[in-house]
């Protein structure tokens, strides 16, 4: 049996989480940082040992520990990339909370480490019910993180987050029970190849949609997100935007699309419609926000809508683009929340109007903020450009109208992000206290620099990230091939005309007559 590296990646943060509960503040911070760095190292080992082009499911582990479901882990390229995203962001989250969190540090670190366990578990689970347990369990630490360490309106936000997502996922559980009863197995790779009756697929798809659409979040069930983001502590927002939103996209790519291809094709119009509304509507809402975190939260909804249209394009470009947007957005929106956190720690306000001219007194900060703003806009050379371009190229092969609307959303995205940046970093220094803020310290450098490097890497050489996923996305495309939609503006070969348009019918009669 090969080395159970995935179990180890679950065990390290779990043990550290339990330890943190009993430690003092300073040692809990060290333990948490140490544990997340170990997991990052394990993640790198995982990536290096991942055999690109090898078996679809690698690092598989099986153990008959439970009745009714199995402890089954294993990853494909898609899961690998999302696990990498999680383990990459976790140490940064711990660093982001280093000074900002002063009360109940041990419990805070324990909640974050538990979160890491559950995220890795979700991406690595190969049993439907094991997946559900990890998926749903994330509610507990997140509820505590928002509720205990959040802002003023944290209680409302934590309730809303909890009940919204719970209601979404319980129906999925019933659908899962039905599927397992029908297919006779709870093994995800087997279920991905199982052909459910077309009539049942619709209901199953809707039940899964209820859960993943809330997680994603899609308009109109996105309203929990701005509240949760605004009230959560900085690191909470990072993990929420960086990884938890990706659970929705992962759910679609792992469950809805391969398990219910017919229903996915039948209901693609719904996804397109909701996504189009989301892109335009949330971008416009973002444009008028006074609160930085809220603005970035709404921008997340818009980016996730691009992911959705990419996924439901049913072709390689769309699917790859969706994955790249997810990874890129995970980095960029996480980094933007960190940027907000940096100045929030100094001035304790998220009001955009309280800042201004920060590039004068915080030039290094302004540079990082600029890079991430540009990445969020989708500037070529940054991660989001690759993803958005691919996703839109994919959807263009299906519907030019959807592409038109979504591209408009990207232009609006440029508008609200640049407007935000202008108000915060440029212009004159209106407020004396904002003008007196110091530039980045070493800890903040250590948080932002790795993300900046990753954003540029993904933008300049996306092949490193696309290569592990290529085979899995190709397999998914094959699975979807039979239901792939027609290109709405496809050229039809007509019968060639006899003459060019400027042809003037020669009337030779009488020519030369005088």
């Amino acid at each position: 049996m090969e080395f159970p590296i995935l179990s180890l990646m679950l065990a390290v943060p779990l043990v550290a989480a339990i330890a943190c509960l009993f430690l003092t503040a300073s040692s809990a911070r060290m333990v948490a940082l140490f544990a997340t760095l170990i997991n990052l190292a394990l993640g790198v080992i995982l990536w290096l040992n991942y055999d690109i082009g090898g078996a679809q499911w690698q690092f598989t582990e099986r153990a008959q520990l439970f009745a009714g479901f199995e402890y089954a882990l294993g990853i494909d390229g898609i899961a690998l990339m999302l696990i990498m995203l999680s383990v990459f962001l976790m140490p940064i989250c711990i660093l982001a909370s280093w000074d900002g969190i002063t009360k109940r540090v041990g419990e805070y670190m324990a909640a974050f480490l538990l979160m890491e366990v559950l995220m890795i578990g979700v991406f690595a689970a190969q049993d439907l019910f094991l997946f559900y347990i990890f998926f749903e369990a994330g509610l507990i630490p997140m509820y505590l993180i928002i509720g205990v360490w959040g802002g003023d309106n944290r209680i409302y936000a934590s309730y809303k987050f909890f009940l919204y997502t719970l209601l979404g996922s319980v129906l999925m559980l019933i659908a899962m029970l039905w599927m397992v009863n029908e297919a006779g197995t709870s093994d995800i790779p087997t279920l991905m190849q199982y052909d459910f009756p077309v009539g049942a697929q619709l209901w199953l798809w809707l039940a899964f949609f209820a859960s993943f659409a809330v997680k994603m979040p899609m308009w109109p069930v996105h309203t929990w997100l701005p509240d949760a983001h605004v009230q959560a502590p900085t690191a909470g927002s990072v993990i929420l935007a960086g990884v938890l939103l990706k659970l929705g996209g992962y759910g679609f790519i792992r469950f809805s699309l391969p398990m219910f291809p017919d229903a996915s094709a039948d209901l693609a119009w719904l996804v397109f419609a909701l996504s189009m509304v989301a892109v335009i509507y949330t971008s416009l809402v973002a444009l008028v926000q006074h609160d930085m975190k809220k603005l970035i939260a709404y921008s997340s909804v818009a980016h996730m809508a691009i992911v959705m249209v990419g996924l439901f394009a049913f072709n390689v470009q769309g699917l790859e683009g969706a994955m790249m947007v997810m990874l890129g957005h995970g980095l960029v929106s996480g980094a933007l929340f960190l940027c907000v956190g940096v100045i929030y720690d100094r001035l304790h306000t998220r009001e955009i109007a309280r800042y201004g001219g920060l590039s004068i007194n915080m030039p290094k900060y302004a540079l990082f903020f600029l890079l991430f703003t540009m990445a969020s806009v989708g500037l070529p050379g940054t991660s989001n450009f690759v993803g958005e371009f691919l996703a839109l190229a994919g959807i263009y092969k299906v519907s030019t109208f959807v592409t038109l609307v979504c591209t408009t959303g990207i232009i609006l995205g440029a508008a609200y992000m640049l407007y935000l940046y202008r108000r915060v970093a440029f212009g004159e220094q209106r407020n004396a206290d904002a003008a007196a803020m110091t530039d980045l310290n070493a800890r903040e450098w250590a948080m932002l620099a790795p993300i900046a490097a990753a954003v540029l890497w993904m933008g300049v050489y996306p092949e490193s990230f696309l290569a592990p996923m290529r085979q899995d996305i190709a397999a998914l495309e094959t699975r979807l091939a039979s239901v792939a939609p027609q290109y709405d503006s496809e050229l039809t070969v007509g019968t060639p005309k006899d003459h060019a348009a400027n042809f003037v019918a020669a009337s030779h009669e009488g020519e030369g007559e005088h």
């Binding site: 009714g68 347990i133 309730y159 909890f162 019933i174 029970l177």
Partner: protein, 484 residues
């Protein structure tokens, strides 16, 4: 069947009865001095009964004692073991609780012993007469236990209410029993089943409905749940913990045996009643709890809510469904005892109970260990994985889906989200709010042990029990269907 076999099969009940009688005499002679020793003896007797009982498990087919009055099959053994475990836990936590008020007396363990005998008879009964005797034996001791804190007006009120309404329920059951007997001509479960299969008249239907209504009262299912919040609030907390666990297990097991046994041929006659009671209990249990400020009342509604989920397993009317009911009961016992023990540990230095949400605000800073235990219990009751309470809901909903009752499962699980609201309110108060009152006083070791064990079972480690649990519950459920 020889007498020796009959005596062997009823060994647990006979042993407990004899111990109870001896201890009763000891109590009468020694008064309050020996109360603690009597408790220890009662715990030992129950533990012995538990071990003896488990030794009978899996010994083959249904074994009837006393010419078809009493059956000691796997189902009965499973339910009885749960009853004994719950009773032991409630005995262990009681002395310290009552001592603080100077109210502890030797009658408490004796009453618990007789109650356990009655509950054992309820789950083993395969004759309406045995059933009724067991039921009354358990109920009468329960009435006394509810008013055990004699100096407390609320406790006396709880005992009286419980007695009046419990008497009414017994009357309803008795009326139903008389109808059933009248239309089938027998009191034996197997005989009733045979008679009803041959001819199920309207009168017999009435009898069935009356019996089920009476039993619904005993398990506190909507619409016969009104007594629960009052009795649970008024009774001393260890007694409430007991009411919410052991008698509920026994009554559910009795209901399951009746549904699968004498009325097993008429599933469609009772299924809709059970479906209604299940959904109504889930919804009323969830909505009723939202406005409650008193923690014991809140947990009373929570137990109504849980009964609804248990009934979903019964509504499926399949061996899988019964297995789900038993697994649910197992997990429920630990969740309930854990949460009530946590409540009884919540008392300030003067011994006054911290009974409302205001009292426990900010508990996570004043008493972190207790708050974390309660957090685990509440998330478990809400059915959030990875806590074990999720598995309880999982098995009953799985049974419902397998029985093709998808609408029932979907409505039930959606309604469970309403219930989640007040469980997370518990956590909000303990973790998000600032402390207002005094910190709870240090609790005794015995309380910590019971709480710790309960939390250990409902923690994610509980999943390691699932293979064993599903084997046991599966065998127990098969026993019912084998007999049918």
């Amino acid at each position: 069947m020889s007498y020796s076999t009959s005596l062997y099969l009823t060994g647990a009940e006979i042993g407990l009865s004899l111990t109870g009688l001896v201890l009763l005499l000891v109590t009468a002679w020694t008064g309050e001095r020996a109360a603690r020793a009597i408790t220890i003896a009662a715990v030992a007797a129950l533990f012995g009964a538990l071990v003896f009982n488990l030794s009978l498990f899996g010994q083959g087919v249904a074994a009837d004692a006393f010419s078809g009055l009493f059956r000691s099959d796997n189902f009965a053994i499973f339910a009885k073991s749960l009853v004994y475990i719950a009773t032991i836990a409630c005995l262990i936590v009681a002395p310290r609780y009552f001592d603080a008020r100077g109210e502890y007396r030797g009658e408490y363990p004796v009453l618990m012993l007789f109650n356990a005998v009655g509950m054992g008879m309820m789950v083993s009964a395969i004759d309406l007469m045995t059933l009724y005797i067991g039921l009354e034996m358990s109920s009468l001791s329960s009435y006394v236990l509810a008013s055990f804190a004699r100096r407390d007006g609320k406790s006396s009120e709880a005992g009286l209410k419980y007695f009046v309404l419990g008497g009414l329920a017994s009357g309803i059951i008795l009326y139903g029993v008389s109808l059933v007997y009248g239309f089938s001509g027998t009191t034996s479960y197997d005989g009733i089943r045979a008679a009803f299969t041959a001819d199920f008249s309207t009168g017999a239907m009435f009898g069935t409905v009356f019996v089920l209504a009476g039993v619904a009262f005993k398990i506190a299912a909507v619409p016969f749940h009104m007594w629960t919040p009052d009795v649970y609030e008024g009774a001393p907390t260890p007694v409430t913990a007991f009411f919410a666990s052991a008698p509920k297990v026994a009554a559910v097991a009795m209901l399951v045996r009746m549904a699968a046994g004498p009325f097993g041929g008429q599933v469609e006659a009772w299924q809709q009643i059970v479906i209604f009671a299940a959904l109504a209990s889930i919804v009323v249990g969830a909505l009723g709890a939202i406005g409650q400020a008193n923690l014991k009342r809140l947990l009373a509604y929570s137990s109504i809510n849980n009964v609804g989920f248990i009934l979903i397993g019964l509504a499926a009317a399949t061996p899988k469904g019964i297995e789900g009911v038993l697994v649910y009961l197992f997990i429920y016992v630990f969740m309930t005892i854990g949460s009530f023990v946590a409540l009884l540990m919540l008392r300030d230095a003067k011994g006054k109970a911290l009974a409302t949400f205001d009292d426990i605000s900010g508990l996570s800073t004043t008493s972190p260990a207790l708050a974390w235990c309660l957090l685990a219990l509440m998330f478990s009751l809400a059915g959030i994985p990875p806590l074990f309470g999720f598995w309880a809901k999982f098995v009953v909903f799985q049974a419902a889906v397998q029985a093709d009752m998808i609408a029932l499962a979907a409505i039930g699980i959606a309604a469970s989200v309403i219930g989640a609201f007040y469980y997370i309110k518990f956590i909000k108060v303990m973790f998000f709010d600032e402390p207002k009152g005094a910190a709870p006083a240090e609790a005794s070791v015995s309380h910590w042990v019971v709480l710790g064990l309960s939390v250990l079972v409902i923690s994610p480690l509980g999943y390691l029990l699932t293979p064993w649990l599903s084997d046991m519950a599966g065998a127990a459920a098969q026993a019912l269907f084998f007999a049918a």
